[in-house]
Amino acid sequence: MFRNLSKWCLNAVAATLLLGTLSVNAQDEPKEAAIDGGGLFSSQCATCHNPHKDGTGPKLSGVRSSWEEATGSGDAIIDWVQNWESAVAKYPYAAGVAQKKATKMNKFPNVSKAEVSAILDWVDAQVEPGPVKADGSGGAGGSEEEGGFPWIWVILGVLFIVIIAAVSGVRRQLKIAAGEETSDDSLSYGEEFKKWSWKNLRFVLIGSVVIFISLIVVALQGLGRIGVVENYQPSQPIDFPHSVHAGDQGIDCKYCHNSVTKSRTAGLPTVNVCMNCHKQVAGNDDEQKAKISKIYAAAGWDGEGYTGKTNPIVWNKVHVLPDHVYFNHSQHVVVGGVDCKQCHGDMTKMESTAKVQPISELNKVEGNIVLTRPTLTMGWCIECHAEKEISTGSIDTKGGGYYEEIHRRLLNNDEELYNKYLEDGKVTVKELGGWECSKCHY
């Protein structure tokens, strides 16, 4: 009886084992070929891991062989992936790995052994990409010297004077030699000039009037350039390529300059905003790495964690308005619905740090209101206030109907005036008081 029972038990166990292995085989073998390691990697692992880069988790290339070496078992890493805590209990090597990164790994009990294996196969098959060569558009500081002082004209002018002086000197010497004039003729240059001017009085008078007027014009033009800061592009601690960030990578202006919708100033991003991406993006070539290491130094990031030793980055202010002007970014961007590019130009094509775009550049940008006065002057501001239509569109979402209320009051108070305003089909900022001194100067 007992012998039979134990025999039966043995058979049962053997059968279960056999069935088990069979069923495991039946599950694994046909699947193995069909498992998409790459797809699984991107859905399950890629949030934290990269084959060749340390991220939240360590890089995975070669990780299978190092586990096999250290533990002597091919299954150790699979145990780890499915439940790292049980692997730590089993293998001393796993306990060391658990200390590598501060963030704990997720457990993946639902990812089968074969799937983990397929993922690791896929990871090991990935070839490490070589350093990408910067193609120039990568923000290499290609800012050319432009609009500098025309030294060439000064040099030409000086040359011209020298030549005239030389020629007339030679002429004088020739005259002396020919006996037309005597060298002991006591007439000085000045006296000679007087003599000549009395002879040609009409030319001299007309000439001096022309010269006088042109000098005044030049001087006035010179004075008109005082306080005009077009093309001002101060040096910055980091050669920041706007074209890469806002252009190639499609980052919205408001992500980094995030106080633009809430405050008077658009705001410079704090280093933690840079680190939201640059924690991972460390640069492909030496030039980029050198630039990005400045961010790391400022944020106190040593490649593994934050050390807490931070340094400020001292940017130079580009768009400076004098103290007697009040300008509010949020009023223009949120309420007025003005796009950044109306005043700052197309930054997605700006390969270096910010500069005060000249009005000729701003007018080239599609969708901009065309203006004539130099950027950041008062003429430029009020010219736009006279052009820009008050839209109700951007106000809709606020629910308050700020401008609708103003339209209503205008209509109720003075319908004639309202209709006069609407003659050109729109109500502009100017017509709502945008030209009143105290709007900006108080």
Partner: protein
């Protein structure tokens, strides 16, 4: 003679031109009528007060005019009780390792070994922001407008799209250009609670940094709603249908809670005893 005249005129012209553009220093913005109006002693953002009108003041050098608010300061956020309670410090603390992995400054941390992301954010927290929905009569038909989600979309475009993609599938322009890797598809993250989504945006998670300095709590909660909408197209359907136009009404706006407070887990209650 003629020569003297020409020379004199030339020199004057050159000096006038030089006067008009005597600036060759890249870091100087040029001549100003009233320089003290551009760099005045009044406090302006992003101006170094160590140097005013050519005078150096080493005490003020590199002093920021924008300072961090005092510890525990709560921003003024109107007098609406719901908004104010939303702006109070969040009850759930970041995991202890976030000091080094996410560089959070001025935050309190949970005790080492605790995992508030897994434990508290999942069990306790729900979205306190109600969906603001507007029903309007348009040509005899009721048209719904989801004000909260519309506002959240603007925030999403400005703050999230470059990584997470317009459809929330993790294929933003930075992914497509290959500059960045490892952004999940929201649809794969169905199992996360509202509190965990908030936690991830507020304190950061994995590679993502903390967005607390950029977005206030109300904005983050509205983004949580927006992410839920990616995961479930009918997310706001029930809320919309609860806003009903009555006879004679053209427009109704209503704030609707999507989920009520969660049932507190039994073991937590026992712990509290």
């Amino acid at each position: 003679m003629k020569i003297r005249l020409v020379g004199g005129v030339m020199l004057t012209a050159i000096s006038v031109v030089l006067f008009g553009s005597c600036v060759s220093d890249k870091d100087s913005s040029g001549l100003e009528y009233m320089p003290d109006m551009y760099r005045s002693p009044a406090i302006e953002p992003y101006v170094d007060y160590g140097e005013i009108r050519g005078r150096e003041n080493m005490d003020l050098k590199m002093q920021q005019s924008a300072l961090t608010p005092p510890y525990g300061a709560i921003p003024y956020y109107g007098t609406n009780a719901e908004d104010v309670s939303m702006m109070m410090p969040w009850s759930i603390l970041p995991n202890a390792e976030y000091a080094s992995t996410h560089g959070l400054k001025g935050f309190d941390f949970a005790k080492v070994g605790e995992d508030p992301y897994e434990n508290e954010a999942k069990a306790w927290d729900w979205n306190p922001l109600k969906l603001e929905i507007e029903a309007k009569l348009d040509g005899g038909k009721t048209v719904y407008k989801n004000i909260t989600l519309d506002n959240a979309k603007k925030l999403f475009v400005a703050n999230c799209v470059h990584c997470h993609g317009e459809k929330g599938d993790g294929n933003g322009p930075m992914m497509l250009s290959g500059a960045y890797t490892g952004v999940p598809n929201y649809a794969d993250k169905n199992d996360l609670s509202d509190g965990q989504l908030f936690y991830s945006i507020y304190y950061g998670k994995g590679m993502m940094g903390s967005h607390a300095p950029q977005l206030n709590k109300k904005e983050i909660w509205s983004l949580v709603h927006y992410i839920r909408k990616f995961q479930d197209g009918d997310y706001d359907k029930a809320a919309k249908e609860s806003v009903v136009l009555k006879e004679g009404e053209n427009m109704v706006t209503k704030m609707v809670a999507v989920k009520s407070a969660p049932v507190v887990p039994v073991d937590t209650i026992e712990d509290n005893k």
